[in-house]
Amino acid sequence: MLNIKEYIKDILIDREMKQKIDFFSKVNIFNGLSRFAVGKLVTAMYSRKYEAAEIICPEQELGKALFIIMSGEVAITRQSGTRREDKIISRLKSGDFFGEMALLEEKPRSATATALTDGELYIIYKANFDSMIEKDPKIGLMVIKNIAVILSARLRGMINEGK
């Protein structure tokens, strides 16, 4: 027998969007946001597929966007020492993100992001995020608060390493 409730759900609900909202709701930077707010952010995102070894954003280039890894792995490297050799700072996987400081200010990237495997990344451009903050300050406030928490944890970690 035809299940009318399921049938109407099928018509009204965009399954792809629902899956995206499920995924992004678990990303740290969107902690505390309602599903509706996450949906709004998803509509402001662009996606791009990367192949292994492709450079996603090079060190010193102007940072204009936040990247969220949907699938695949990404290496964050930084040139160090007198030979300026690339040193891997961290390996990121699905659900991780990088470039969050670009949402606060357009400054040169402090590290290079390179795709380690084939994968897909979601990108939020700073100006789009800014206009969303203007329209819905509650969403912006929550995301910026989350970025502040992440940065302060990172700073605390660096201080502890230095001790």
Partner: protein, 286 residues
């Protein structure tokens, strides 16, 4: 937006009523045109006597009548031309704009042809273009709404016949930047000239000049300055170039196109400046 929709719903029946009234008034208008032409012929004959022998009103009216009689025979062609005009000057710009606004597809395509290290630059260009187009369309729609409303109220206040039709026409003409405002003034002024009300010509001229001043100083500044942030002289130059190469379509689309080019150039120049700064030799410590 709701105000605009409500106004359209409220105004449409009145426009249809005016169109019916215009249809029934056509014979009367034809007589007025004939009388006006007879007057003009009398005045001109004083300076150029050979004109007396010609029957100018009858000649013109014959031309108009033969044109009107040929309309039913050419109706399919006229309808075809109308839809051609509609598709070229209304659908093409709207489809182009809609495709531009579908930025995800545009982004996918650009991402597939441009190296990944330039992703952020491409993204900033697409997003800024998208923003410019959105602001332009919204701003233009609101500007046209207020210009149409002001023209209709002005014409109603001056008790000009067919105020709604002329007001809507003026509003549509205002899509064409700068020149549109003056094109919109021509039909009502022609009508009052035919009706022989010369004092009304001055009143109408004052009304359209007043609306144009309001448009230039407040309405356009408010609605379009943020999106089409171009100097007036550049707008005029761009319009001339658009008209020269693409005709009416160029006139309509040249201003947003110029605005997009400005945004893209701004982003590329900003990135270039940043690269130049990186390539500059760092000062060595003493």
């Amino acid at each position: 937006m709701l105000i605009v929709v409500e106004t359209v719903i409220f105004v449409m029946p009145k426009v249809i009523a005016e169109l019916n009234q215009l249809q029934s008034s056509l014979p009367k208008i034809a007589v007025q045109v004939r009388n006006s032409l007879a007057k003009v012929q009398n005045q001109l004959s004083a300076y150029y006597p050979p004109l007396k022998s010609k029957n100018l009103p009858d000649l013109v009216m014959q031309k108009i009548n033969s044109f009107a009689a040929s309309v039913p025979a050419h109706l399919p062609q006229i309808i075809g031309n109308f839809f051609n005009f509609l598709s070229l000057y209304v659908l093409v710009p709207f489809v182009t704009i809609a495709l531009l606004l579908d930025t995800n597809r545009l982004a996918d395509w650009l991402f597939s042809i441009i190296p990944s290290r330039h992703t952020e630059t491409i993204l900033s260009i697409i997003s800024e273009i998208n923003q410019v187009m959105r602001d332009f369309i919204q701003g233009q729609a609101m500007r046209l709404f207020w210009l149409t409303a002001l023209t209709v109220f002005g014409l109603l206040y001056l008790k000009v016949d067919f105020a709604l039709i002329f007001g809507l026409l003026a509003g549509i003409f205002n899509i064409i930047p700068v020149l549109g405002a003056w094109l919109g003034a021509i039909p009502p002024i022609l009508m009052v000239i035919v009706q022989g009300d010369i004092s009304m010509v001055f009143k109408l001229a004052l009304l359209f000049i007043g609306i144009q001043v309001l448009d230039n100083t407040i309405i356009s500044t408010y609605y379009l300055s943020t999106s089409v942030n171009l100097h007036f002289v550049i707008v005029l130059f761009v319009l001339m170039v658009g008209a020269e190469f693409f005709g009416l379509l160029g006139v309509i689309l040249s201003v947003p196109a110029a605005s997009m080019i400005k945004v893209v150039m701004g982003i590329l120049y900003h990135d270039y400046q940043h690269k130049q700064k990186l390539e500059m030799p760092q000062p060595q410590p003493d």
